[in-house]
């Protein structure tokens, strides 16, 4: 039994720190330091976990000593560990960005504890090996996000948050419905045990229907085709919060779809995986139209989130080692890059006081670093080598072609063109052209904002240029996803 107590740390550290910080509500300095330290500690632990998983295979922890399938298992495979690491990088950067921008009032109204609870929920979802526990961790980060989206209490925030919350409450009810159905069919909720029992009994029509119910639930959370709530709700909160939402929240939905459809419901790919592919294609087309059509920075960026959700799914649809590795690589890239462009976009709005493209022009003269980092991010999203989006795109598209899904691959490539068009439109409008603002006319200052943006740019560049170093980890993650027996053996032994 490879018991590893380190697996619980990414959940417990932010949770306990957050609870502690509620007590020290007035002491802003302590709140900032402790939350930064906690997130850095989680980052270090996720690197350690990666190394352990690389050497010793999938790590497990049976909480309370109750053996699976009776207790709740925590499972860390390479996929989870990579996502944990990306989560820590992004959460640290967005936290540093929040220090100067978030404002005194939200800081006193429990911003830092909420932020830590959000990270708790996200990390827990990546690590848990129990379906109901997954639901609980989903609720943990959702409830934190419900409050964070309204933090500030402007009219637009109130309005959009209502839609966001209702959508998610209903999705959660359906999640529980799926849990109930699956429990009455199989009699277990442990993911590994579920996988065994579904494989033994065969995935009949009933189980496939339940699989589709789960697909709807997670598609709502991930913004896969059912993204109607996303552009509104991701464009209202303060920049640091919008960035962490865009980077992480949809990704947890994506993670859940990957987990469920590689570990449990992988027997009927001609139904489930094909449907995921169709949804992904529609998502990319609709998201692309949105990204090209709008003239508002926030809207363009949120529709880019939508496009990438569709693209990441293509690797799962192909179910080939290349496609899967490509998806994982692109997922990591996307977590970093979405936080980065949301931070840059937010900074532009902070500087100019408007989010309309037609009112902004020529920022590069005053803020060259910001402009060039935006260009790097934009090219990286499009997939220009050697930046970080390139490898993910190549492998994902290769996977879809190998699996014979030429149409999906073509739409994936076309989506890159939409991304290129929308990002270059942003770059040319915002950074090129005549400088209309002079320095003392600017609405906000750049003080302290460039550091987190530079950190994220650096991380994204490192992911692209250092691809050779991270490739064995990604390959291992893809292998583990494609071979459910490894996961089952690690948990059920």
């Amino acid at each position: 039994m490879r018991m590893n107590n380190g697996l619980i740390a990414p959940v417990v550290i932010p949770l306990l720190t957050g609870m502690l910080l509620i007590i020290f509500q007035k002491n802003i300095k302590l709140q900032r330091t402790l939350s930064l330290l906690a997130l850095l500690a989680v980052g270090v632990i996720s690197v350690l976990l990666m190394v352990q998983i690389k050497e010793g295979g999938i790590q497990t922890l049976q909480l309370g000593g109750w053996e699976a399938p009776y207790g709740i298992s925590f499972v860390g495979d390479m996929f989870s560990a990579l996502l944990l690491l990306a989560t820590s990088i992004v959460s640290v950067c967005c936290l540093i960005y929040a220090f100067p921008t978030i404002g005194r009032k939200p800081e006193k109204l429990y911003f830092y504890p909420l932020y830590l609870f959000l990270i708790t929920g996200v990390n827990g979802s990546f690590l848990t090996g129990d379906l109901f526990n997954l639901y609980v961790f989903f609720e943990v980060f959702l409830v934190a996000s419900y409050v964070m989206i309204t933090l500030g209490g402007t009219k637009r925030q109130l309005r959009e948050s209502l839609k966001y919350i209702f959508t998610n409450v209903i999705a959660s009810a359906f999640f529980l419905m799926g849990v109930a159905y699956l429990y009455s069919i199989t009699g277990t909720l442990n993911l590994a045990d579920l996988s065994l029992r579904v494989a033994e009994a065969g995935q009949d029509g009933l189980i496939t229907t339940v699989a589709l119910l789960f697909l709807i639930v997670f598609a709502l959370k991930a913004g896969l085709l059912l993204f109607f709530w996303l552009p509104g709700s991701y464009s209202v909160p303060p920049t640091a919060i919008a960035a962490i939402f865009a980077a992480l929240l949809t990704k947890v939905g994506i993670y859940a779809i990957f987990r469920m459809f590689t570990l449990i419901f992988y027997h009927e790919p001609q139904i489930t995986h094909l449907l995921i592919g169709l949804m992904a294609a529609a998502t990319m087309i609709l998201g692309g139209l949105g990204a090209v059509g709008f003239g508002d920075i926030r809207k363009i960026l949120t529709y880019n989130v939508v496009i990438s959700v569709g693209f990441i799914m293509l690797g799962l649809v192909s179910s080939t080692p290349e496609g899967m590795a490509g998806s994982i690589y692109y997922l990591l890239h996307d977590i970093l890059i979405k936080a980065l462009i949301f931070l840059i976009g937010g900074t532009v709005i902070h500087l100019t006081g408007t989010s309309q493209l037609k009112d902004i022009s020529g920022l590069i003269r005053l803020h060259p670093a910001l402009g060039w980092m935006f260009l790097i991010a934009a090219l990286s999203m499009v997939g220009i080598p050697p930046l970080s989006g390139f490898l993910g795109k190549v492998f994902t598209i290769q996977g879809t072609f190998e699996a014979g899904y030429y149409g999906f691959g073509a739409i994936g490539l076309a989506a890159s063109l939409f991304i290129l068009f929308s990002m270059i439109k942003l770059f040319m409008n915002v950074f090129w052209g005549e400088t209309v603002l002079c320095e003392d006319e600017e609405k906000g200052s750049m003080k302290g904002l460039l550091l987190p943006i530079a950190l994220l740019t650096f991380a994204s560049l490192a992911l692209g240029i250092g691809a050779e170093g991270i490739a064995p980890y990604v390959a291992q993650a893809a292998e583990e996803l494609l071979d459910p027996n490894r996961y089952i053996q690690a948990v059920m032994k």
């Binding site: 409050v147 309005r159 209903i170 419905m177 109930a180 159905y181």
Partner: protein
């Protein structure tokens, strides 16, 4: 007995859906709440309704009830309770700000 409860769940879900599809904020909250209750019933039914005594050592009866669904709905009820409380507060705040509880008017405009 299970069949009856499942039919009840169906009725509750349809009532909840009807309420969720209406325009008024408060009705939507109530609808979501009813759907959650229906789901809780569904979970308790999924483990089979009570067949025997409590699952404790030393109980004399042979059959025992499945304890897991009960633990599950306990968690689900608590979460649902907290979320409903939060939503109610938000609805009240929204009503104070907008002086309306009509979702149609909370649609928002493009490019504001």
């Amino acid at each position: 007995m299970e069949t009856l409860i499942v039919i009840l769940v169906g009725i509750l879900v349809s009532i909840g859906t009807y309420l969720i599809l209406s325009k008024q904020l408060l009705r939507i909250v109530l609808g979501a709440s009813i759907v959650s209750h229906a789901v809780n019933l569904l979970i308790i039914t999924s483990g089979g309704l009570k067949k025997g005594s409590a699952p404790l050592l030393g109980e004399r009866e042979v059959g025992f009830a499945d304890a897991l669904p009960q633990a599950l709905i306990l968690t689900a009820i608590v979460i649902n309770f907290a979320v409903t409380a939060l939503v109610l507060v938000l609805c009240y705040r929204a009503y104070q700000h907008f002086r309306t509880d009509d979702m149609e008017q909370l649609r928002g405009h493009e490019n504001e």
